[in-house]
């Protein structure tokens, strides 16, 4: 209440300043007059009385000042005054303001941009109801020391037995070939269980989700579609309409809200997982289902995990030959979705913070120069009675004004830069759709602007408020300070050191990418195009049909002029798809399939090894004679041979997979790199090849959705693709071609986890280098301008122009080298830390000498260049002019 009143009175007096001041005047005058009258009555003269009252009670002016200063509105008024003064001063120096604002805008803008990424991806909650209770439930394979997806049969068991979850749901990736309505197209999709959206707490835009009656074998064919499909293909009226997917007609019963996305990939089609193909439903060795659940209120992740482990132990006992050795593992959904990039983003936030520090150092340097030139002004003000705090306050007002203006520009720059950056990395950054400049980002930008203003303003403010009146007023006529600009020099050293750290980080990542490109992939990645074909539904009726359709399609593609070779494979090396099968050699079947090692199984045509350029080491590769009627044969890679046949020739032995056993090994080929470059896993180390034409009928009818065509051709993809399309459509016009990539693209994509931070860190390092060189230039040219007199004397006494040049450049380089030394030590420590907790570096040591040498040379060159211009100016100093200044 009284606070409100005080505000009201304060505001009133702000706007009626004149009247309030008059009133106070009159009242105080009266007070002093009355006191004086008293004294006159006692016999003093009027003048004596007035003087005595002033002494006893205080003078009119001082009292008025005291009373006015006691109210808060006078504080506001003083700030306003300072602000107006600051604006006036800054307007007088547009050059300084431009450089300072540009520097600050770059620094704050870069920070704002990175913060908005961190905020959108890591900090902001997932767009589901109470997202903290959402978990993913995995199988924990103890013998592989790895978590895996589960089989649909496992999920059904879990759903029946678990008690810790409010709702439990599952989904699996699946592509669909849409053939009606409209033109045939392949669409990404998911198979989901009933309750999937209820579990997430997402409301459908139209219709409903699957009921448990629909989510089972033989249920009515129903489908839920994405908002974009509803909008673009169905013209916003889709409910109840039919859609033909993989040759099966289904009814649309629901439309998702716009922008819905659960993991990183988009999906347009959702079908009930209970209606999936029988082979995938019952086989406990097919692990392609992801389980997501909502914890009951009050149940912790640890409790739920313990319960799920008990549940899984029961399943293990029921199916000892399949599941023995499996447990359960829970991870929070958010950690699963953003876990990998979290470290990278925080690293970038740190790096961009360093850029901001460098920017601060730059502006602080500029301010030091400015305040040095204003020493006289401060001397006069303090001689007139301004307190030290008052002067510091005034200077801080100036610097905060600068930084807030710079921050405003920075936000604009951030918004602009962010749009460009997000377009470039959207596909590799989870939740990138959530990145935008919002209120919390603006608050962050405002907050760091203020903080930065105080940070770079405080040192110059404190320094200049400590003026010695005597000397500075005496010296005033010359308008300069004495001595060496020690503060400037140390700021410059810090700047260079920080720049070295950033350059070293970016350099190491650059070298990593370089090493990755040089890494041996185990095959010839040039001139290969890969794509997928949705076989016509009429061709997938039974296994024999599919085999014929594949053979005919490949033959047609091979006929195209410019195609050197072409064949099928269910896996493309270096892609992110994994088909890891449990296997054993000869008769060494483990007690439980879950405990068997895994092999990355390529199911290919006979020409695939030649298309990819994989070297044949022993025996032969698959051939056209290895048909469904011929004995089963397999080819293994050198890794599998080395690990499981260390002393014997593998040829003639057998390899068995969980689904089908007894493949005779007929050859050994080289190991190919799969997944991310430079890393290995128990799922991709041992590799094997079997013929796609020996796959059993029950699998053959589903195989086309995960089969690729690899084509070796020296022609550009864009040139050959229309020909390929013509050939494929020639066989059947309802066969869409999709997922077209060159192997080079796939390889390049596999480096995205290094490339994204490298580009960002490289940008920041470049920015830092630019700012640091401006800083060096500023310090050296200021020092030259301060020493014109001294240089003049030196030259008058016979110093060579070259000596002067050397002196100036030498001074700059000495500082640069000091910064370099500190920076290298800092970078060595930081990069070691970096490589110990993240997998960013590959093929280079944390203290890679080449990187550090290059960085040092680069920085020295830039420093020398930044000193060159002021040194040239120093060389041209005319001794006569310089000395006449006196």
């Amino acid at each position: 209440m009284s606070l409100l009143r005080s505000m009201a009175v304060g505001l009133r007096s702000l706007f009626r300043k004149e009247r309030i001041s008059q009133e106070l005047d009159e009242e105080l005058n009266g007070f002093l007059e009355m006191a004086a009258e008293e004294k006159i009555k006692q016999g003093m003269s009027r003048n004596e009385a007035l003087r005595s009252v002033r002494l006893e009670r205080g003078s009119l002016e001082v009292t008025k000042e005291v009373v006015r200063a006691a109210s808060w509105e006078s504080f506001v008024e003083r700030c306003w005054q300072d602000l107006r003064f600051a604006v006036r001063l800054l307007r007088k120096d547009p050059g300084f303001v431009a450089v300072a604002l540009l520097t600050l805008a770059l620094g704050i803008g870069a920070n704002t941009a990175i913060f908005s990424v961190v905020q959108g991806v890591v900090l902001s909650p997932l767009p589901y109801r109470e997202p903290d209770r959402l978990v993913m439930v995995w199988l924990n394979n103890h013998s592989l020391k790895s978590i895996t997806q589960l089989s649909y049969a496992d999920f059904v068991d879990w759903q029946r037995s678990s008690r810790s979850f409010e709702k439990i749901a599952a989904y699996a990736w699946r592509g669909f070939d849409l053939s009606s309505p409209g033109t045939p197209e392949h669409l990404p999709g998911r198979e989901i269980s009933a309750n999937f959206f209820a579990m997430l707490g997402v409301e459908l835009a139209q219709g409903r989700e699957f009921s448990s009656e629909e989510d089972r074998n033989g249920g009515a064919p129903v489908v839920i579609i994405s908002n974009s499909l509803w909008r673009d293909r169905f013209g916003r009226t889709a409910m109840g309409k039919s859609i033909v997917l993989d040759g099966v007609e289904a009814t649309i019963i629901g439309v998702l809200p716009p922008g819905f996305r659960f993991d990183t990939d988009d999906a347009d089609i959702y079908t009930p997982i209970g209606q999936r193909r029988l082979v995938e439903q019952n086989d406990r060795t097919v692990h392609n289902v992801v389980c997501v659940a909502r914890l009951k209120a009050g149940v912790s992740l640890g409790q739920a995990e313990a319960e799920m482990n008990t549940v899984q132990e029961t399943i293990d006992r029921l199916h000892p030959d399949m599941e023995e050795g499996l447990g359960a593992k829970l991870t929070p959904v958010k950690e699963q979705l953003v876990g990998d990039v979290r470290g990278t983003l925080l690293l970038l936030l740190g790096a961009v913070g360093v850029v901001l520090l460098i920017a601060c150092a730059n502006v602080a340097n500029l301010l030091l120069v400015r305040t040095a030139a204003r020493t006289r002004e401060f001397s006069i003000r303090s001689a007139l009675g301004a307190g030290r705090g008052r002067i510091v306050w005034q200077l801080l007002t100036e610097s905060v004004l600068l930084s807030v203006l710079g921050g405003g520009l920075g936000v604009v720059a951030a918004k602009w830069g962010l749009n460009a950056a997000m377009a470039a990395v959207a596909s590799t950054l989870p939740r990138s759709e959530n990145v935008r400049v919002n209120v919390s980002v603006l608050l962050f930008a405002f907050g760091i602007s203020i903080a930065v203003g105080i940070l770079f303003g405080l040192a110059p403010a404190l320094k200049s408020s400590r003026v010695d009146l005597q000397t500075s007023l005496k010296e005033g006529a010359r308008g300069s300070t004495t001595g060496h600009p020690r503060a400037q020099s140390s700021l410059m050293v810090i700047q260079i050191a920080l720049t070295v750290v950033l350059l070293a980080g970016a350099g190491l990542l650059f070298r990593t990418i370089q090493q990755l490109w040089k890494a041996d992939l185990g095959f010839d990645a040039h001139n290969i195009i890969t794509f997928q074909v949705g076989l016509s539904p009429s061709a997938t009726g039974n296994g024999a049909c599919v085999r014929t359709a594949f053979q005919q399609m490949i033959e047609r593609i091979r006929q195209i002029p410019g195609v050197q070779s072409a064949d099928l494979s269910t896996l493309v090396p270096m892609s992110h798809q994994i088909n890891a099968l449990p296997f054993w050699v000869d008769s060494h079947r483990p007690a439980s399939v879950a405990e068997a090692p895994r092999t990355l199984a390529f199911i290919t045509g006979p020409d695939f090894q030649r298309v990819m350029g994989i070297p044949l080491v022993r025996g032969r590769f698959l051939s056209e004679q290895d048909t469904i009627n011929a004995p089963l044969v397999a080819v293994i890679d050198t890794e599998l041979a080395r690990t499981y046949f260390p002393d014997t020739d593998p040829i003639g032995h057998t390899i068995s997979f969980a689904q089908v056993s007894g493949y005779r090994i007929i050859g050994v080929v080289g190991h190919v790199q799969h997944g991310e470059l430079g890393f290995s896993s128990p799922f991709t180390d041992a590799q094997s090849y079997v013929s796609i034409y020996q796959i059993m009928d029950r699998w053959m009818t589903t195989i086309d959705t995960w089969t690729w065509v690899a084509v070796r051709t020296p022609l550009e993809a864009s040139t050959i693709l229309p020909e390929i399309r013509k050939a494929v459509y020639g066989a059947a016009s309802d066969q869409p071609i999709y997922n077209v990539h060159t192997i080079k693209q796939i390889v390049s994509e596999s480096m995205s986890s290094q490339r994204f931070p490298m580009i960002m860190l490289g940008t920041f390092a470049g920015l830092a280098l630019l700012l640091a060189s401006i800083g060096i230039y500023g310090v050296i040219s200021y020092s030259v301008s301060q020493r014109v007199h001294e240089i003049g004397i030196r030259m008058a006494l016979g110093a060579d122009k070259r000596d002067v040049f050397r002196m100036v450049v030498g001074q700059g380089l000495a500082l640069a080298l000091a910064g370099l030394a500190i920076g290298v030590v800092g970078a060595l420590i930081l990069t070691r830390l970096l490589s110990s907790f993240s997998l960013l570096l590959y093929g280079v040591g944390a203290s890679d000498p080449l990187t550090f040498t290059t960085v040092s040379v680069m920085l020295s060159l830039v420093a020398a260049l930044a000193c060159y211009i002021p040194a040239r100016r120093a060389m041209r100093v005319d001794p006569i002019v310089a000395l006449r200044y006196e």
Binding site: S2, R5, S6, V9, G10, E23, L24, E26, E27, L28, G30, F31, L32, E33, M34, A35, E37, E38, E56, R57, G58, V62, T63, V66, V67, A70, S71
Partner: protein, 110 residues
């Protein structure tokens, strides 16, 4: 030392002003003189602290002011105690009594 006028004990000036005004509305100088007289010259008030206190009390709604003519037919601002001010004076007086008694007990004990 003892006979030299001293400043009012920190924080008690407001209470003393309220007490002075409890008898009748008064102008600034009147308040100053009354306080000095009642304290038998122990307190000497300068205009600065007095007027800052008036401003503060007024903003808190404990006193009001109006311009009136003095007995010497001079225009002066008279301060009047509000109801809220009277309540505050009572509570502060009680509190002051409690504290003084407590301090006295402590000083006697040692």
């Amino acid at each position: 030392m003892a006979d030299k006028p001293s400043d009012v004990v920190q924080g008690t000036l407001d209470m003393l002003i309220l007490k002075t005004l409890a008898l009748e509305p008064m102008h600034g100088y009147g308040i100053a003189v009354r306080l000095e007289q009642m304290s038998k010259g122990v307190f000497r008030l300068n205009a600065g602290s007095l007027f800052v206190a008036f401003q503060r009390l007024q903003r808190d709604g404990l006193i009001k002011s109006e311009w009136k003519a003095t007995e010497n037919s001079r225009r002066a601002k008279y301060y009047v105690l509000t109801d809220q001010g009277r309540k505050r004076l009572n509570s502060e007086t009680r509190e002051w009594g409690r504290q003084v008694a407590a301090i006295a007990r402590i000083l006697e004990a040692s």
